[in-house]
Amino acid sequence: MAELAAVVGIGQTKYQTKHKTVSIAGLVRDAALKALQDAELTWDDIDAVIVGKAPDMFEGMIMPELYLTDALGCNGKPMLRVHTAGSVGGSTAIVAASYVQSGMFKRILTVTYEKQSESNAMWALSNAQPFSVHLNAGAGGFFAPIIREYMRRTNAPSDAGIKVAVKDRLHGARNPLAHLQLPNITMKEVEDSPMLWEPLRFLESCPSSDGACALVISNEELAKQSPKKPAWIRGTAMRSEPTMYAGREEVSPQAGIDCAKDVYAQAGITNPRKDLDCAEVYVPFSWYEPMWLENLGFAEKGEGWKLTMEGATSLDENGDIPWNCSGGVLSSNPIGASGMIRFAEAARQVRGDAGDHQVDGAKLALGHAYGGGAQFFAMWVVGSEKA
């Protein structure tokens, strides 16, 4: 019953610590214009705009879609703002796609962004609430104990995380938009970097970036006008579970497993490692690659680290299932946009449009995002064919 929809335009700003020459409106407009130009369209060709970003407190602005209306050509059009914590970039793309898939709109623009440099994201994330019963130890303090449990269960070699940190930055060095450009990074350099939350070192963690990402999504009829090959949306799925509950499986959350099963079923995928050509997966801390390889069904339980160590996920090592060819979240992390960047980069792959980080002949790609305490998941599968 869903209408077929496709990505016909993609725009991204360069990701960097501070975008000093543009305001927040300028930043999102930059990405939006690039997406329109990519699709050879104008503002008038857009029926509605959907904006997404992480907590308002990161820039100190409440409900920024109100302010961004003018910058995004939305005067007189429908505007919506999605907010699902860290997975927001992905869920925004999914909600945006539903505008077209519901048959209610023909062509829409969606933008996600973060301009963390304009406020104090660290403060916003860690400001102690009165009556808080929890010790505040930052994101790493939450994820590091879970990683430790993964290592205990699997007996993974202690440098599996380091291998991911190197691989994703080498991929990032092929992507001129990536924030961290570290073409000479080595295992030793990562190992020697300061330990933050054991076992996570500084170079195994994502940066904090400013940036924006935009997509133009249209229906089948209008996709014919697309100057580039459309990236057909073959499946979308979202799942949520509570952050904490007794007996929660935190290493491989059920919501991730269920979300992946749903999107694979929609796209006709039975063996993700074989059926997909590549994946853009939300890995903000190195060890999440082996963990997500299992959670997403690319590897058997307990064996995700083997794929990483074998080089299966590496472009440079000619792996059969490259992950995060764009450099991933480990190379660029504007929090509100990171999820959509994964979705956008998956689309670039199947359009043959990923430049130096292209996987040859990619036809089917997965985009993945997660947020909160690894409890909100959003995924899509895009393909070069309609079915």
Binding site: A128, V133, R148, L196, W197, P242, A246
Partner: protein, 171 residues
Amino acid sequence: MSDANKEALEPITGIESPVYLDYNFTAGAATARYLSKVKEGKLVGQRCPSCRNVYIPPRGACAACGVATTEEVELSNKATVQSFTIVHIPIPGNPIKPPYVIANLIPDGANISFLHLLSECKNEDVRIGMRVEAQWKDPSEWTFAMENIKYYTPIDEPDVPAEEIGRLKDA
């Protein structure tokens, strides 16, 4: 304006725009009851009537079942380490010097962990399944805050196997 004056003016590229907002926080009924007990030196969780798991800190609802939790269960000062990390960066506003251990601890009688500090032990000795006990501050210093417990320290009891940590024991 003379040329010299013109050169002295730098273009404005940004402004600082501080935001001051006052909030009067309330704790929520379940949190308020919990912290009142903490002020008395007790850890009290709540049991879900549906799945029987005991929550700490209690939130007034069982997140898994979506039902209100009202039955209070007093918990032990002893706990098991479910997992942990050694932190090398300072916590904002906390005087403890890195590297220090923070751990997910499940107090005896509860089925969910909370985060707290471990101390008076060698960081390298900390392991999953380790048994620990709460070290409270002097009662004269007790307020409505988890900081009433300074930290947890290891005790001489056998480790709990990982698969059993926090599991609901049949009554």
